[in-house]
């Protein structure tokens, strides 16, 4: 055999990817991929897949693809979590080696934050925001598809690392110098750096897109203060993304230059400064936490009024709180490293700024509760997630304030107390919010509802499992257990709480399985939503049929009140959304284009080349990127016109035309 072939095989399949479980997963994945290929070929679906989905620029379909991808990533990150918890169920357990454990907690954190939570709410933004503001699409539909495919290929790049070349293992924030070549040889860390940069470009593009969409494409009459709060949350999240992601890109980019091209930004020698990375990362990292939670705040601000049959309490205060959190979130990053010697003045400043964030958050909490006051609370599944969120999130928020008390943080830092805190807010806040939104907007996405009874079971398991998993972890922190320990000896008294936590994690896992079953079952036994308004909703998306036609609104609605659709219903004027035949105009909608997927695929090829330092492949990918961009730039027929007759036909079929 040629020596270069041996070298290649060693590079692609180092010992850490030749573990029996990984080989098992590889075989499973290959078989499922084959099964999908065979299915698509047999049913002649390749053309359908390409035309209807892979090249689509329709925000509703992009939203659905985001959500499907996010659920798959939730599964992957969840399996990682169960592996971690299994290792810790008893002292001195070694199901995995420490190296593999490190890889698994790194991928768990990275996948959950960047490839599960963010795409999940990008999906919900896509599904709901244009419909809520009365728009026909987002401002830049093609850019929207580019964002999605960059995310998808970034996620793919990150995920192949466990079977080719080795996974990153420096933790989700990858502090140098540990993430530098000196301590972390191999290609694993390169995957982390490149995958996050590729998907990060997509996130920035999404931020630009939704900011402009919300500022420019609102229906006439919908002033900023008449926007639904979910739209507000999308607006502030986009703003946060725009200013938070560039520092991350810089932090990752500089580490990459260190690792791949011998620069000395964060190295130990040549006066590199690892501390700089910590600052850059957390200037991104703390706003990122609010990027994750704000959409959930927005979802709850829609769900609570709908299922209490009452307008939101203190709308203005809610908006001001969102803006205050956005602003404050840039001034708290040092609280991630009070123990790095900044001195009491700096520490106290950042401790107090962190506490300040609790004020707008507290205001929001009480406002949701008072929204229910004087209402009629319906315990549907989206509302259950909301009702689970309030008591859970308040604990997470309270422990956050405790962490902000600087001197106390010296004892909490890097302990399981911190783990419990951020899972308390990210799972109890973000994930509960996303699942609430999933159940809430599902009928709008697909035209059928998810079964309520199974949904309640999924919630019950997930909620119970959550409390059982994370409450003991606060106390593990007080017992002196630190995060990322691959195992722990007996005799420290940590066994009982860890066992509880692991059992809780598996109960959450059952909750996820029920959720998937719920989706599959409801697909096979659909409960069709024929009205378009299954929840007796308040905002404009419920004035449309489910699912909405490609052009969304045949006629752009006019908005006079805050809960536009609710006020029409109250006034008995729901017919106002119907058309007269003479009102139909030609509608421009964007044309499908393969440019986004080709661009993202080029990024993927180029990044893979960078990961392995195969320069020819990196250049090839770079040329692909340039070519795709140039091709995209000269495309001038990006729209197609729907003629009035076909619009009228569609609307007639949907029963939305005045006789």
């Amino acid at each position: 055999m040629h020596s270069w072939l041996i070298h290649l095989i060693k590079l692609l399949f180092p010992p850490q990817v030749l573990l029996p479980d990984i080989i098992g997963i590889d075989i499973g994945l290959t078989l499922s991929a084959l099964a999908i290929v065979v299915y698509l070929t047999k049913t002649h679906r390749w053309g359908w897949l390409w035309k209807e989905w892979l090249t689509t620029v329709d925000h509703k379909r992009i939203g659905i693809m985001y959500i499907i991808a996010a659920l798959i990533m939730l599964f992957r990150g969840g399996v990682d979590a169960l592996m971690l918890r299994s290792q810790l169920i008893v002292p001195n357990a070694h199901f995995m080696g420490a190296q593999q454990y490190d890889e698994v907690f790194t991928t768990h954190g990275t996948v959950m934050i960047f490839f599960m939570a963010m795409p999940f709410f990008f999906g919900l933004f896509n599904v709901a925001v244009p419909l809520m503001i009365g728009a026909r699409d987002v401002a830049f539909p093609r850019l929207n598809a580019i964002s999605f495919w960059l995310f998808a290929f970034g996620a793919a790049l990150f995920n192949i690392s466990f079977s080719i070349g080795g996974s990153p293992s420096a933790g989700w924030f990858s502090y140098p110098p540990y993430s530098e070549l000196q301590f972390n040889p191999g290609v694993g860390e390169n995957y982390y750096l490149l995958a996050l940069q590729v998907s990060g470009i997509g996130s920035i593009a999404t931020g630009i897109n939704f900011l402009v969409t919300i500022l420019k494409l609102r229906a006439p009459g919908m002033t900023l203060m008449k926007m639904p709060l979910f739209v507000w949350s999308a607006l502030v999240t986009s703003t946060l993304i725009l200013f938070a992601f560039p520092p991350l890109t810089v932090a990752l980019g500089l580490t990459m230059l260190d690792r791949l091209f011998g620069a000395s930004f964060f190295t130990l020698g040549r006066e590199g400064m690892p501390m700089m990375y910590a600052n850059l990362f957390w200037i991104f990292g703390h706003p990122e936490v609010y990027i994750l939670i704000m959409p959930a705040f927005g979802i709850f601000s829609e769900v609570v009024p709908t299922f209490s049959r009452k307008p939101l309490f203190g709308y203005e205060a809610m908006v001001i709180s969102l803006l205050a959190i956005t602003f404050l979130s840039y001034g708290v990053w040092v609280h991630h490293f009070f123990e790095m010697g900044a001195g009491p003045g700096v520490n106290v400043f950042f401790g107090l700024s962190t506490m300040l964030i609790a004020i707008p958050t507290g205001v929001k909490m009480f406002n949701w509760i008072f929204t229910m006051w004087g209402g009629r609370i319906r315990l549907t599944v989206p509302m259950l997630w909301q009702l689970g969120f309030i008591p859970t999130f308040v604990v997470g928020g309270a422990s956050g304030v405790m962490l902000a008390a600087v001197a106390a943080d010296y004892q909490y830092h890097n302990s399981y107390f911190v783990i419990a805190h951020f899972h308390n807010v990210i799972v109890g806040g973000t994930v509960f919010g996303l699942l609430s939104g999933l159940y809430y907007w599902w009928p709008k996405m697909f035209g059928w509802k998810l079964n309520e009874r199974q949904g309640r079971w999924a919630f019950a398991f997930f909620f119970t499992g959550f409390w059982l998993t994370f409450m003991p972890q606060y106390f593990l922190g007080f017992e002196g257990m630190t995060r990322r320990m691959a195992s722990y000896p007996a005799g420290l008294g940590w066994g009982g709480l860890n066992a509880m936590s692991t059992i809780g994690a598996f109960i959450m896992g059952i909750g996820f399985v029920i959720l998937v079953y719920n989706i599959a079952w409801s697909r096979l036994h659909p409960e069709w939503d024929t009205t378009g308004d299954p929840w007796d909703g308040r905002t404009l998306e419920w004035s449309l049929p489910s699912p909405a036609p490609a052009y969304n609104f045949a006629r752009i609605p006019e908005v006079h009140e805050r809960d536009a659709w609710w006020s029409l219903k109250q006034a008995g004027k729901t017919d106002a959304v119907k058309l007269s035949p003479d009102q139909v105009e030609p509608i421009h909608i964007p044309k499908n284009t393969p440019m986004p997927i080709l661009l993202a695929a080029s990024f993927f090829v180029g990044s893979l080349g960078m990961v392995f330092s195969w320069h020819w492949m990196a250049i090839l990918g770079g040329l692909g990127v340039v070519a795709s961009l140039a091709w995209g730039s000269i495309q001038d027929d990006t729209d197609r016109e729907l003629d009035p007759a076909s619009v009228l036909n569609t609307e007639k079929r949907l029963g939305r035309v005045h006789p």
């Binding site: 931020g207 560039p246 520092p247 810089v250 500089l254 011998g262 620069a263 006066e271 400064m273 000269i634």
Partner: protein, 200 residues
């Protein structure tokens, strides 16, 4: 301009194109953050020279002044191109755009020459944290300019083949924004990196 008073330039008349211009402004805002982060890194790293040269030892103001003048001039010529487009003089618009991209290319080649000189003298970025951040900050600006040149070439072809369509006017306007933005970044680079470097 020969537009009647109060009327918008063509690239803003069409709401669709106006939205794209707002989008481009927002993109520039994120790019400001990118450069701000790199500037912050540079300012902290400026004194971390390890065994390598200090800023004063390697910066030569002569070529840098030439680069500055060239880039400032190109900012003027791109405005002339935009002006020509607004007064619907297609050929003048193309001509000034070509002048702009030639100036841009001259700028980039001078910068590459400067980098190559440093590297040949043994001052690679491997040497110190200062050199790493210097090459990265200046190089990021340089690669932005290079990207702009590619964009200008494409735009020239589009103008030549398709004329002053609304979309092309909007693209030219966005390009001019981008080019002015790079100019402003360069002013900061010139003062924060080169002037401050030579003074110390």
């Amino acid at each position: 301009m020969n537009n009647p008073i109060g009327a918008l330039p063509a690239e803003f008349e069409n709401t669709h194109e106006g939205v794209k211009i707002l989008g481009f402004w927002v993109f520039l805002a994120t790019d400001v953050m990118l450069f701000a982060s790199l500037f912050a890194v540079y300012v902290v790293y400026r004194s971390r020279v390890a065994l390598g040269p200090t800023p004063a030892q390697i910066f030569r103001l002569g070529p840098v002044l030439a680069e500055t003048l060239i880039l400032l001039t190109s900012s003027f010529t791109v405005s002339l191109s935009l002006y020509a487009a607004r007064t619907s003089h297609l050929k003048a618009a193309i001509a000034w755009l070509v002048v702009t991209l030639v100036l841009g290319a001259t700028f980039v080649s001078l910068e590459i020459h400067e980098f190559v000189t440093d590297v040949l003298a043994g001052h690679t970025w491997h040497q110190s944290a200062f050199l790493s951040s210097f090459f990265t900050l200046v190089g990021t600006h340089g690669s932005h300019v290079t990207f702009g040149i590619g964009w200008a070439i494409l735009l020239t072809l589009e103008l030549a083949f398709r004329g002053l369509t609304v979309a092309n006017r909007r693209k030219l306007f966005s390009f001019a924004l981008y080019w002015h933005f790079l100019d402003i970044v360069w002013i900061f680079l010139f003062s924060v990196v080169y002037l401050a470097g030579v003074m110390t």
